[in-house]
Amino acid sequence: MPERLTPEVIALLVSRDFADGDIVNLGVGMPLYCRRVPPTDVEVLFHSEQGLLGFGPIMKEPPPGHKLQTAGQQSVHPMPGMSFMSHDESFALVRGGFVDYTVLGALQVDAEGNLANYQRPGRITGSLGGAPDLALRARHTYVMMTHTSRDGEPKIVERCTFPLTAVRCVDKIYTDVAVMRIEAERVLVEEYAPGWTIEQIQGITAAPVAPAPDMREATLA
């Protein structure tokens, strides 16, 4: 099998869409790589669930007692224009449709755009976080994840078998193998990682995939 993309590269692919003034919410885990590779020529406002809008780059060595953190507890720098609000106002912003992009991790995504990312099967506990509102109400909902689970199971499926976080909400899926969009209940491959063929991608995907009309090799140019 050809090589898979690193999280940094996937983050760069995701970030290409961000434009001046866009508000972007990054889920914990892999999506936070998008904060490490901010577009330098556009002014993007990063939002974090606890009421933080417009935070700066991730801090390498935070001083003791540093309070400014992302939802995933990474310490971050302040930024001019940054604002604080309560959790209810923070989700007014989300639910009101002011978030342009949300980038979320997933356990499963399916061809209808349904998202499952809060509970593994067989478990009786789980974690929804802010995902239900973000996934439903952001202008663009992107999933960023490894194409297959640690056990090699496909995470892109025909119909999710894991409990759903939100229905019909995912626009695009960015994995270490491909960039796909959900369209009319189909998974269309827009870009593939260098060396990968559509057949190889289909081989590790449990939903039928089809090439988008403009399918191309993923590049950062």
């Binding site: 953190q69 507890q73 604080f84 209810d88 974690s127 976080g129 439903l136």
Partner: protein, 260 residues
């Protein structure tokens, strides 16, 4: 004269009875948690609590201490999670004081460890009501704002919002959610005055949302300033929503078991 300042955490929580419902602020780092109020609640020994808290995925201090002992090959456990500065609601869970938790995070972030909540749920000792942050924060805000119920799109046609009334409003399927009021709200703020006006120096998260959404709101603060020091436009939560204010010790205490 209005004076909401209470001199000790033990006094501030003394009237919380077993079986009470409580909103507990807290989200990520130590600056978000009403840690001394939680520690004092643990010391009262009350149980059968219903706690709503955004993040109940913490590892309890006992489990954490054991892990530290293991990791340090038997050295005395003085881990960060034991001093009250780093207490979270996991302390109450681990000690079996919680009958039900309403939360958005119940599983530990890191795969290998189990949260105190998970252990209690698996043992059948604690009930879990899982919801999303938008719904939880809006339900609590609704309690403060006197809105008995509202419709929201989050959760429609998902298992976690099963059983709610569903209604299509302007083409969007919405679920009916009700105000979540509590007997007590324990919140953390940066500074207060004697009237209970509160300000924050970082995002207030659920701490501001929960202030006023209970019969009795108790705020744990880093500073108490003279009345008039807080500017009218800077006050995030007016004292109207706050009943008691307690000042954190200037020198952090070393064990949550220590009376204060």
């Amino acid at each position: 004269m209005i004076d909401k300042v209470v001199s000790s955490f033990d006094e501030a929580v003394a009237d919380i009875p077993s079986g009470a419902s409580m909103h507990v602020g807290g989200f990520g780092g130590p600056a978000d948690w009403p840690a001394y109020l939680i520690a004092a609640t643990a010391r009262t020994g009350i149980d059968e609590l219903t706690i709503s808290c955004c993040n109940m995925a913490g590892v309890g201090p006992e489990a954490f201490a054991k892990m530290i002992v293991r990791m340090t090959e038997g050295a005395s456990p003085v881990g960060w999670n034991v001093a009250p500065d780093h207490v979270t609601v996991a302390l109450l869970l681990e000690r079996g004081q919680v009958r039900k938790g309403i939360t958005t995070f119940s599983t530990a972030m890191r795969g290998a460890m189990k949260s105190a909540f998970e252990s209690m749920v698996e043992q059948g000792r604690t009930e879990l009501e899982l919801t999303g942050q938008g719904t939880l924060s809006e339900r609590i805000r609704a309690a403060r704002a006197g809105i008995p119920a509202f419709y929201t799109p989050a959760g429609a046609d998902t298992p976690w919002a099963e059983g709610r009334e569903v209604r299509e409003i302007e083409g969007v399927r919405c679920v009916l959610e009700t105000a979540l009021h509590a007997d007590f709200s324990l919140v953390r703020a940066h500074a207060a005055d004697r009237q209970g006006n509160l300000i924050w120096d970082h995002p207030s998260s659920f701490n501001a949302t929960m202030a006023g959404a209970a019969t009795m709101t108790i705020a744990e603060v880093d500073q108490i300033v003279p009345l008039g020091d807080l500017k009218p436009a800077e006050i995030e939560i007016p004292g109207a929503f706050v009943n008691r204010v307690v000042l954190r010790p200037s020198t952090p205490m070393t064990s949550w078991r220590e009376a204060h």
